[in-house]
Subunit: 192 residues, 2 copies
């Protein structure tokens, strides 16, 4: 087999692996897309109503001559989580993250604002969790926010080992519709 | 007294009236500001966690040479409501609207998407309402979403008379902190 100088091999990969690898390169846009599709499915089947908060944009300049066209603006960091909604009368709040690591989930993916937000939601009786994708391993887990918050607050290490997800989280599988049936895991974990 | 050709009088008005009149001109930005401040107060006093969804922006062009600066974009219409959150374990979802009318609330203020959204939230057991300001009258009401949805679906008229707000809604008062204590009205109306 020819060795290419850039390390790339011309051998075509199976679609699923290829897709996951692309996702990793896209910094988790694939996971987000799967969750958005799942939420659309849940909405259309009246199972739940979960929405993604739009990315906040700080608008600097607007051209009103062109019908309120924004000509200068920048993205702001979300100080909350990306998703929230209502399911069986309960308030759900969660964040979706993807990592290319094969061994652990780096905590720098989560901001102090998000931890504060989750603590406040928990204090109000909301249900909070993370959906974490290990994109290279092709594995996705749902894990209760308490586990992540505990690690964030008390552990000295800067990442959460995969083992924690395997023991304290629930593995999610990909399917056609919904793409990621995370509400089944919510039912199971929170006894809804 | 001199009559000015543009109809403006130089007599200074009391701050509250002046402010409300400005609000009207700003198409309800004053009401929104009051609600945002109230939500901040509720957050800081651990009473509830209600957040405003950012206005969705459709980004057309980004200049990555300038640190991901957005150079072309436009505002999208919110297909949900503006506010949602968690209070005493319940999911809350509401919309804030202001009208300059002294007699009724025009329904063109509400989109079909928002009505659909509210119906879905209600089906999941969420609590839905509107906070409506009659800015010229200097009155603000909390009214259950069912009342608005019923009018939207069944009535032939294109606005909801003030009388309906007086009989079926709860009048809210302005105070220093929180600016609009709408959660007291939520407690009262929904028996929380």
């Amino acid at each position: 087999m020819i060795k290419y100088p850039n390390g790339k091999s011309p051998v075509s990969k199976a679609p699923s692996t290829k897709r996951r690898l692309q996702n990793a390169a896209n910094r988790g846009m694939g996971l987000e897309g799967d969750i958005n599709l799942s939420n659309e499915y849940y909405k259309n089947t009246n199972r739940a109503l979960i929405t993604k908060r739009p990315t906040p944009v700080n608008v600097v300049k607007v051209d009103y001559q062109r019908g309120a066209r924004i000509t200068d603006a920048y993205f702001e960091k979300q100080s909350t989580t990306d998703y929230n909604g209502v399911y069986k009368g309960k308030y759900l709040d969660f964040e979706a993250k993807s990592t290319t690591s094969k061994t652990s989930f780096p905590l720098h993916n989560i901001s102090a604002h998000q931890i504060e937000h989750l603590n406040r939601v928990l204090a109000q009786g909301g249900i909070c969790f993370f959906i974490v994708e290990f994109s290279v391993l092709n594995r996705v887990y749902l894990i209760d926010a308490h586990v992540i918050i505990d690690f964030y607050n008390h552990e000295t290490r800067k990442s959460i080992p995969l083992e924690i997800f395997e023991t304290k989280g629930l593995a999610l599988t990909l399917s056609f519709s919904p793409r990621i049936n995370y509400l089944d895991a919510v039912d199971q974990f929170y006894h809804l």
